[in-house]
Symmetry: D2
Subunit: 201 residues, 4 copies
């Protein structure tokens, strides 16, 4: 069994993105589940194209996309992705869609196939704060979660897909007073614990 | 040169106190400064007595007390201690003073002798959130900071003393949603960076 | 033209719900738009039944449901409702659904027909904090928003429906330290400003 | 009996200061206590000079200074002022002292003569969030609180002095997401409730 694990590159004012940094440090195998890792650009559509190619070459059983959610206090598996792009800042290629559908022929929203409550519980058992989120926002994170679901529903019905957000790193909040953070080591342990839930299913 | 570094034991509902855990993991020598470590009880007066004995036996040049400040987002060197005990919860021996002076013949407050801005800057250069605080509260943390200053002003004029607060650990906020945390590894790195400022003075 | 404006009764540990309190104080007419007001119970399904009856009797052009979102800092028009009930606490009749669909034959989610960005802008122009939210949660608030959309898509295609969350009142956070609030007067002004946007469409 | 009630003018990026706005709206008499109101500039030393003149002309029995503390969730009577100026931003005349004593011959700190716990309790009984603070910071608010105490201890031993901080207004946080606020009406009610405690002493 194989998991495709993706992380975004840095965006906005940040020079680092905990998502890709954490993904790099996750083990290559977790409880017998092979981990194929992929860096994706924080760019609408292009990120999805890169995942599509990786699905064809890697043929994963699971997809888990990791993204940064500045301001959150813990690791948050996402419940649902919506058919909606609305960007507060430009993506890494300058695109800034406003109140747009992602796919005219897609569902309004898709629910993850992953057991998000169990994943969150496993993260908390590692002594890392976590809760299940019901919004991935409307920027590239939600876009990618939605796109993966769209592909699953159209082309890859046997893949189970999902998304997790992780907080800023401590280094990212040194000049953001009053904003919470989580260490990279805890990100890695948290992601690993969540993936282990998938491995033993 | 020698630093006496103290950390409190757990109190309230918590089974762990990051202060003593971090103190244990700080190196025994930092840039030529010897580190003498001491666990102190979260108990009014008894904590100070234990420090007094350690001063006599260790003859330190610096004293740095570390305490937990649940709810803070970074490591916070304290500027000032006040002559005032006012406990929201009982200490570890059931004492709960309300609006009481610590010493009738002490100053209203004492300022630290430590270079708190430089210490905070050094912590931030380690990519760990930090700011200088102007209140150590009115529980045992402020009490200990005040008591150390009282001793310095009465008996040990050559010692430089100070206090730093550190946030909850991630494990402590697993069931405290919306409360920030910092990892033990970052506590240790932050304390070490602050102590290095003292070492090179 | 007529707007059906609903507010929930108190739930959980609170003896008051700013939603129904604010609804009561909104004017009965705003820029020519008649306001029909309705108190609804914080109860899965029963809340929706009560709204269904009111739609039949009042024949509104717009429906706006107001709910409390403890912990938010401003008034938040909601973008989307999801086909999902998951209750952290029981509703006012003891029901506590866990990870359940609301309607087997409903869409995964429905987007509001209301101009939420304009509404949020109008609230901010009243000097009241506001932002558009992409999650109404998974308790009775999301349930009602979803149910209204389900009715609109099945039975009442000419009605435009939507939902707004408002923060705790100051009285509700007196014993919830570190939790933000908004006054009832600002709730009323904010709702009125948002409704005015609908009136002039 | 007479209370001198002061409020600061706007400073930093803000065009309004809730302190002086609230002071203006407090009744001119509360439970038999006459209220003399004074606007003071957010300027080190000059603010204190203006208060000194007002003490000579008004001969108050109590002094209560009101200041803005952006980021706080409730009204906070202050326990203590420290002999320390350290400004993160310039005051309204461009002064920006760094780690300076206010008075070489003053105490390190002065405690308020006002019953801050009773005042906070009275504010909470008005259903407004409040707690006693142990720091007024190190900008002009702490400066004024310290200066008033310095005058009391030198010249006016019969006056009882104190300070209360109030949060941002909602209008001030419209473009400060995630920052709490309190309405002007609640500021006025809270200050009035606190002053009533003094009136009945």
């Amino acid at each position: 069994m194989k998991l495709l694990l993706t992380g975004f590159d840095p965006f906005g004012k940040d020079k680092i993105n905990p998502a890709i940094e954490a993904v790099k440090k996750v083990p290559d195998e977790i409880s017998g589940l092979q981990i194929a890792k992929l860096e994706i650009p924080t760019v609408f559509f292009k990120s999805a194209e890169k995942i599509h190619k990786a699905i064809l070459s890697e043929k994963p059983d699971f997809i888990l996309n990791i993204g940064q959610a500045g301001g959150r206090y813990g690791i948050t598996p996402e419940r649902v992705a919506i058919n909606f792009d609305d960007a507060r800042i430009p993506d890494n290629e300058g695109q800034q869609p406003k109140e747009e559908l992602i796919h005219d022929d897609g569902e309004n929203a898709y629910f993850t196939q992953l057991p998000v409550k169990e994943m969150s519980k496993a993260i908390k058992e590692e002594q890392i704060p976590s809760y299940v989120s019901t919004t991935a926002g409307a920027f590239v994170c939600n876009h990618v979660m939605y796109q993966v679901q769209y592909m699953i529903h159209r082309e890859f019905p046997n893949i189970k897909g999902g998304f997790m957000h992780i907080p800023f790193l401590p280094s990212q909040v040194v000049n953001r007073p009053g904003v919470p953070s989580l260490s990279l080591a805890d990100d890695v342990r948290g992601i690993t614990a969540a993936v282990k839930v998938l491995a033993v299913k």
